[in-house]
Symmetry: C2
Subunit: 140 residues, 2 copies
DNA sequence: TTATTCTACTTTCATTATGCAAGTGCCTGT
DNA sequence: ACAGGCACTTGCATAATGAAAGTAGAATAA
């Protein structure tokens, strides 16, 4: 793990966000951690989009360096690592919820469950609170 | 402009969004259209991040093909094109607002004005309505 | 104890995307 | 007619991506 002082193209917040996770894979890893209860390297490899192993390793390292995720050793199996979201990573949830709503609206073949959109339309903030609670409980 | 039927890696809404605008430049163009009242090719080139001309042309074409922006000829000068957001593009505003809020929170050198964050904290929906109204007025 | 399997990566190399610089071609104003 | 503005294109070097195979240490089975 090399430490490098990152130079940003600008300090526009959108550019900052894009430079932090604006590639085709990073947010899919965040998604797996946030909505699919995944935590192991091997689990990320199983997602539909079929990330390759070298890219996954690279992105996990970058996301950890950016402070969005953290890595710990699994107590039950020392050859296994547990990845989880930091608070900085969890704070992406409102943005991801809006991204899901947009994607669900414009992809006619979207995999988004109707119940999700219903909850989004009914009470967005409540939806976020519930999802955060669910994440917390699964961590035990 | 070639028409190609796009194959998606999956129909997860987050993946759909990432495949549509998940590179390092597309959202900066959307940002310029949405928050900075830009509309000409030459104006996008002036942004702080210094996009190069070939990448800009490529992204404008992709965004147009994806239905996020549209291109018309400037009536006052036929050698000039006007780029503007479609409703599909405008619908990205809630997501971008959340992205700005996140970026402003975690970039200590953020260029985000305090007033923006204050308005965001006070009444998010109102902020979005005001921004949309402002965009509409500038189009006249 | 030895062998096999799990798990998380690395490495290699071909393909694709990016980025700089320079060039093209169509208006437009003088 | 000509200079300049405007929206791109083209060429080429460099960087990122992706598929496949390889490595290394811990766990499990024989």
């Amino acid at each position: 793990m090399k430490t490098k002082s990152k130079k940003y193209r600008s300090h526009c917040p959108i550019n900052f966000a894009q430079e932090t996770f604006g590639d085709k894979w990073s947010l899919l890893i965040i998604r797996d951690l946030m909505f699919k209860n995944k935590k192991y390297y091997g689990e990320f490899l199983l997602s539909d989009e079929k990330i390759s192993t070298n890219i996954l390793a690279d992105r996990l390292e970058k996301l950890e360096n950016a402070g969005l995720i953290s890595k710990t050793i699994d107590e039950e199996n020392n050859s296994r690592k547990i990845y989880s979201l930091t608070s900085k990573g969890l704070d992406l949830m409102p943005m991801l919820i809006e991204m899901i709503a947009w994607g669900a609206k414009y992809d006619q073949d979207t995999a988004t469950p109707k119940s999700f959109i219903q909850q989004y339309n009914k009470d967005k903030d409540r939806l976020i609170r519930e999802l955060l609670k669910r994440l917390k409980n699964n961590k035990i």
